[in-house]
């Protein structure tokens, strides 16, 4: 048994691939991303029977549709429904990646900064591009709230720019740190339990404490898995506000 809590985050190559001079091997991370994506598609393929009176599965699919549609409408506005498929995809991709990562031997793709940063940067770039397409150069007014004395702009504009640029950073680090920390904790408790059992005698009996701790953390991690997907999705909606509401 590996005793390194970080060992579970190792990227392992399954097959190598070079594209235009870039080394992009298909790894365990890629495999589990594909598993998450296929699970999402499979789950929703089961839920879209299109019956007038929904069954149990169809109800779950329709509830998640309405839940996310209402989130987009309430947070950003009905005009942002163009981005609803993106929010839906990002929510379910992260949710399924997090949940699948909870099963033993599975790799948690969202525990890697590369993945969360790519998602966060893409989200922010999408906001910037959509904002400029929609509002033209006026979009940059989001950095300069109207109705302030000229002197204030010297302070406000840098603050607004920094706060805007920190969004992808916080978005990426929040998800990555939550998933990594949870899995490290889980591993540490499990390693400690195994260590105590290895000591034998009264120590083996004391291993009940870390086992209970592990169970608690597992429950907590399932909560975090759902919560972080929700947080990522709702923050995406909040940031999409800047596309439609330049004067804030």
């Amino acid at each position: 048994m590996a005793s390194d809590p970080m060992e579970q985050f190792q990227i392992k190559k399954i097959f190598d691939l070079d594209l235009a001079g870039l080394n992009i091997p298909f790894t365990n991370s890629s495999l589990w991303m594909a598993v998450a994506a296929i699970s999402v598609i499979g789950f929703f393929a089961l839920t879209t029977k299109g019956k007038l009176v929904p069954g149990r599965m169809q109800s779950v699919g329709e509830m998640s549709y309405e839940f996310l549609a209402n989130m987009v409408k309430d947070t950003t506005g009905p005009e942002a429904m163009k981005f609803f498929p993106f929010v839906f995809t990002i929510f379910f991709f992260i949710l399924f990646a997090n949940l699948i990562g909870m099963s033993p031997y599975a790799f948690t793709t969202t525990s890697h900064l590369a993945v969360t940063a790519a998602l966060a940067v893409f989200t922010i770039l999408m906001v910037i591009v959509a904002g400029i397409v929609k509002n033209g150069l006026k979009w940059f007014k989001i950095f300069a709230p109207s109705g302030l004395p000229i002197l204030m702009y010297i302070i406000i504009i840098p603050i607004e720019i920094v706060s805007f640029l920190s969004r992808p950073l916080t978005l990426a680090v929040r998800l990555f740190a939550n998933m990594t920390a949870g899995h490290v904790m889980l591993k540490l408790f499990a390693i400690f339990a195994a260590f105590l059992v290895g000591q034998g005698g009264i120590m083996a009996g004391a291993s009940i404490a870390p086992v209970i701790g592990t169970m608690g953390i597992i429950a907590l991690e399932f909560l975090v898995a759902g919560l972080q997907a929700f947080v990522f999705a709702i923050l995406t909606c909040v940031y999409l506000n800047d596309v439609y509401h330049v004067d804030h």
Binding site: F9, I11, F15, P25, T27, S29, I41, F93, V115, F176
Partner: protein, 177 residues
């Protein structure tokens, strides 16, 4: 170009030994590439097939429910109108029946009254006739009584005196009694 390597690469593990695997930037390009590919496929499938179906299903259901509610309210209105017509017809029929009863009663009353009148007149007439007859009969009887009294008195007188009285004197005597 895909190039398969028979062994699982350990170089990443070694590279990560100095820090956490997440900060091993040699793996970033691969992770991000596959993320983009897989995420794009997922987005495409969800946006093109699954979400429209789910959305249409929901819209269809809400349409269906709205239609059914409309139909229900229409039926209710129909029912209300039918009830109104029914009560109206009932009231009409009642009024008509009342009218018929009233006119019948009136005509019957009038008939009864005329018949009663006729009967009374007939009765009065008959009473008058009877009274007249009674009167003639009594008069006749009275005149007979006078005659009988005269005869009786004459006989009595004749028997007592032996000769008959003059009728004029007898009559005057009888009248003075």
């Amino acid at each position: 170009m895909a190039e398969k390597k028979p062994h699982l690469d350990e170089s990443h593990a070694e590279a990560a030994s100095g820090g956490i695997p997440q900060l091993d930037f040699s793996t970033w390009a691969g992770q991000i590439f596959w993320l983009i590919v897989i995420f794009a496929i997922l987005y495409f499938v969800l946006a093109k097939f699954i979400l429209p179906k789910l959305g249409n299903g929901l819209a269809e259901r809400s349409d269906h429910i709205a239609d059914d509610l409309d139909a229900a309210s229409r039926f209710q209105k129909d029912a209300e109108e039918a009830e109104k017509a029914y009560t109206h017809a009932l009231a009409d029929a009642r009024a008509k029946a009342h009218n018929v009863a009233e006119t019948t009663r009136k005509s019957v009353d009038a008939e009864v009254a005329t018949e009663l009148e006729a009967a009374e007149a007939e009765a009065a007439r008959q009473t008058d006739a009877a009274e007249a007859r009674i009167k003639t009969l009594r008069d006749k009887a009275m005149s007979n009584i006078d005659e009988i009294a005269e005869k009786t008195a004459d006989e009595i007188f004749t028997n007592f005196i032996g000769k008959s009285a003059t009728p004029a004197k007898l009559k005057a005597a009888l009248k003075s009694i």
